[in-house]
Structure formats: C-alpha cells, structure tokens
C-alpha cells in the first residue's frame, strides 16, 4: 500500500514538478483557450456576414429588380455557398495543414495561422447556425420594421439580428465547446497547446498515464463548465421571452 502511494507520488513529481513540467500543461491550456476564443471571434464575424448574404439572397432575390445589385448578390451568394460546402466537406486537420504548409507557408506565427484556420473553418458552421436563426424569425418582424420606414439593413440590425442572436446563443456556445476540443490537433503545425503539452511531458518522462489523463481531465472540466453555462443560459432564455 505504501509502495503504491509512493510510486504515484514519484510519478506525479516526475511528470509535473520536476523541471517545472506542469508549465507545459498551463502554457498549453493558455494556447488552447487563445486559439479557441480567437477562432470563435473570427468564426462569428465570418458567420454573420455569410449568413446575412445567404438569407438576403434567399428572401429577396425573387422580388428584386434586375440590375447590377441583383447580379452582385447572386455572385456573393454563390461564393458563400461554395465556402460553406468546401469547408464543411474537408476534415479540419487537412484544412489546418493546407493553411500552414501552403496558404500561409511564409508565416512563422503558428498561433496566428492556427487561429485563422480554425476561425475560417468555424465560420462555415457558425454561418449555418446564424442562417437558421435568422430564418426562424417571423416574416412579420421584417414587415413591421420596413413599414415603419427602416431600410433592409436597419431592420436586420435593430430587429432581426438581435432576435436571431438570442435564438442561436445556446447553439453557438455548443459550437464553441466543440471547437475547443477540435483544436487538439494543432500539434500538427507545431503549436504547443494543451494536448501537445501533455504529449511533450510524455516524451520526456516516458510515463504516459499522468500527463495524458491530466490533459483529458482539464478538457473534461472545461467542457462541463461551459455546458453548465449553456444549460443555465437556456433556462434563462426559456423563462423570459425577451
């Protein structure tokens, strides 16, 4: 019994205390969170733009007068559709490698490249989430806004988007949780995130159990925390209609 405890103790010291190896986990966690938040911000920005183009096209193209504006909208919509289809049809690791070794090959900042790659990837999913949200808003809201004299953009901005955002908020947070787990593959482009940090410790100590389970535990706790937050938010949104 005492043997067992002292063996755990020495493994713990070896993996985390010696040479300050815990820093690999902490620094890795910071990278994971930076990457996730950064990618989410980019993803939301892309998602809003793409979803607005897509819904504007779908709702107005039939009644739009012919002209350059109409042509431009059709073109933009096609670009957005291709973007969503391509991004969602390719594994994120492959996209990450393409971004790092081909598109941004000249960049030495892997955190930036990783954030961009995941942001562009996430944008396609966020766009579909937002699109669903915008489509779920009753058509009467747009009509009420337009009848007061708001133009299309103003109606989207003051009336449709705020409501759509509330509808999609829980889904968006779930996307964020999924994104955090997906970033675990950034080790492929030499980024030392939480997963890579644990793996580095494993390589140094030749003792896989503790570092890998430590990383697993940290992911799990984070995911559980954010899921709890989503649940709380969903209950709040359900009890109040506003």
């Amino acid at each position: 019994m005492a043997d067992w405890i002292s063996s755990i103790q020495s493994k713990f010291i070896l993996n985390f205390i010696e040479d300050d190896r815990w820093r690999y986990l902490l620094d890795g966690l910071v990278v994971t969170l930076e990457l996730t938040f950064g990618a989410l911000v980019i993803g939301i920005a892309i998602g809003i733009i793409v979803s607005i183009i897509r819904t504007t096209h779908d709702k107005t193209i039939e009644t739009m007068r012919p002209g350059p504006g109409r042509f431009f909208l059709i073109l933009l919509n096609a670009v957005c559709k291709i973007y969503v289809t391509v991004i969602r049809g390719i594994p994120v690791v492959v996209q990450l490698l393409i971004a790092y070794f081909i598109i941004f090959a000249s960049s030495t900042n892997s955190l930036l490249v990783g954030t961009l790659a995941f942001g562009i990837n996430s944008g396609a999913y966020v766009a579909e989430i937002f699109r669903g949200g915008i489509m779920s808003i009753d058509a009467g809201q747009m009509e009420a806004g337009r009848s007061l004299g708001f133009n299309y953009v103003q109606t989207m901005r003051y009336i449709i988007i705020p409501q759509a955002f509330k509808v999609v908020l829980p889904t968006l947070l779930n996307e964020f949780i999924a994104l955090m787990k997906e970033t675990a593959v950034v080790g492929y482009i030499a980024l030392k995130d939480l997963t890579k940090g644990a793996d580095i410790i494993r390589g140094r100590t030749f003792s896989p159990f503790m570092p890998l389970f430590a990383a697993a535990l940290i992911y799990l706790v984070l995911v559980m925390f954010f899921s709890w937050l989503v649940g709380k938010l969903e209950r709040r949104l359900r009890t109040s209609d506003h």
């Binding site: 009467g140 009509e143 009420a144 337009r146 009848s147 007061l148 004299g149 103003q154 705020p162 209609d241």
Partner: protein, 252 residues
C-alpha cells in the same frame, strides 16, 4: 416624379394596379383604380382571397406591384427611383398579428423608429410615446415586454407605435381578426377615436359594424377587382351587384 396639385386632397391615387403571383398564374390584383382622400376612412371588404391584403400591402410596397402605379402625396412610389423608405415613414401599418418587437419594451418599440429615422432625441420620442400610451390607457405598461401583454393590449401598442412616426395615413390589415372576442372592442375603440381625430385610414376588416359606423367609403373587392364602391349606407342597404349581395348575406 410628378406633383399633381389639382387634387391635393387625394393622398393616395391608385391606377390600374396589378399584382400577379407565380409568373401570372395568380392574379391577386387585376386592375385596381382607387383614391384615398385626406381624412377619409376607407373600409375594404370582400371574401377570403379576394386580394384585400395584397391591395393594402401594395400601398406601402410591402408587395411590389406587377403593373399600374401608386401615387402617394403626388409622388409615384412605384417608380424604382423613389426612396420608398422615406414614404413608408408617412404610412403607418397595423398587422393582424401585431408584429411588435419582442426583444424591446413597449416604450422602446415606440421610440426606436422616431429616434433612428427622424433623429428625435430620446426625451422627445419618449414624451410623445407616453402621451400616446396615455391616450390608449396603457401608460403603466411602458416598461413591459410584448410577451407580457394581452392580444388587445398588443394591438393597441402596435397602433400607437405606428402613430409615433406621425403618419399621414394608417393602413390596417384585419387588426381585430387575431383577437379573442372580448378584446375586439378595445381595439376598435382606439381606431374609432383615431378616425374621429381626422386620421386618414384604409382598413381591411370583417367588422361590418365598424365599416357602417366610421367608414366614409366602403370598397367591396372580389377576384382581385373592385366590384362596388360607395358610402357604407348604400353598400349595406342598397347593394347593386349579385356578388356583394351574396357576400353580405353571408357576413351579416
């Protein structure tokens, strides 16, 4: 843009208005000629699918006509070059399903358009909104959200929300049809008061009592056309066409 000064009391002039859906398959409006003069209450009646809503929604271009013209205060608003958003500020609309903005308080529902579009100060917009709320007996509900209101309250708010823009004309599309019977009266009362105050109104409704009592003119539509147009008295007591007689037999 042509200004027609000879008929300045005509606020809306509709000429040969057509609205075809599905590439001409459905003729929702099939050649409508009509005028609405300042201070008039024009009530539009007719069977379901006759084109009443489409007609009303064409007046502020919520539906884009496929033919004909609509002049509002002498300006042809069907001309693609006119800025329809500016004209819509002068045409309030009230919908069957209220369409209040659920994410805003009653007061915000009423002030967002004047503040954003007319550049009114918050104080100015709120003062007007509160005065209007008082007129419909809802000043104590200014902080409520639409989900906390009854149907009748929602519709009264929707009416005063439109009034906050100081419109020249108010369009109503079956404003009481989605209400429980006991709430119809409170909304009709607000509309009667509005008519009494001289507001120009175009009202699509099945409330024949309202048409008789406050209507200056009644338009009977069927199959996308105006079949008969007359004073309420003449429409109800002396209908000319078979279709109107049939319709009245069913609804009265």
């Amino acid at each position: 843009m042509t200004i027609n000064r000879s008929s300045s009391d005509v606020i809306i002039k509709v000429t040969g208005l057509q609205k075809h859906f599905k590439g001409g398959g459905i003729k929702a409006l099939d050649g409508i000629d009509a005028e609405i003069r300042r201070g008039e209450v024009v009530v539009i009646i007719g069977p379901s699918g006759s084109g009443k809503s489409t007609f009303l929604r064409c007046l502020n271009l919520l539906e884009l006509p496929t033919g004909g013209t609509i002049e509002f205060e002498g300006v042809d608003i069907t001309d693609p070059k006119t800025d329809i958003n500016r004209h819509r500020q002068k045409m309030g609309m009230v919908f069957q399903h209220f369409n209040l903005f659920p994410h805003m308080t009653v007061l915000r529902n009423m002030t967002i358009a004047p503040m954003t579009l007319l550049k009114k100060s918050k104080a100015e917009a709120e003062e007007k909104a509160m005065a209007l709320l008082k007129r419909v007996g809802l000043e104590d509900r200014h902080g409520a959200y639409p989900s906390q209101l009854s149907g009748g309250q929602k519709q009264r708010i929707a009416i005063v929300r439109a009034l906050c823009m100081d419109p020249e004309v108010m369009l109503f599309d079956e404003p009481t049809s989605a209400l429980d019977p006991e709430m119809v009266g409170e909304v009709l009362d607000v509309m009667k008061q509005l008519a009494h105050d001289g507001m120009t109104m175009a009202v699509v409704t099945h409330e024949m009592g309202f048409a008789r009592e406050v209507g200056s003119r009644v338009i009977f539509m069927d199959n996308g056309q105006i079949i008969e147009e007359n004073t309420p008295d003449m429409i109800f007591s002396n209908p000319q066409s078979e279709r109107l007689k049939n319709f009245l037999a069913k609804v009265l």
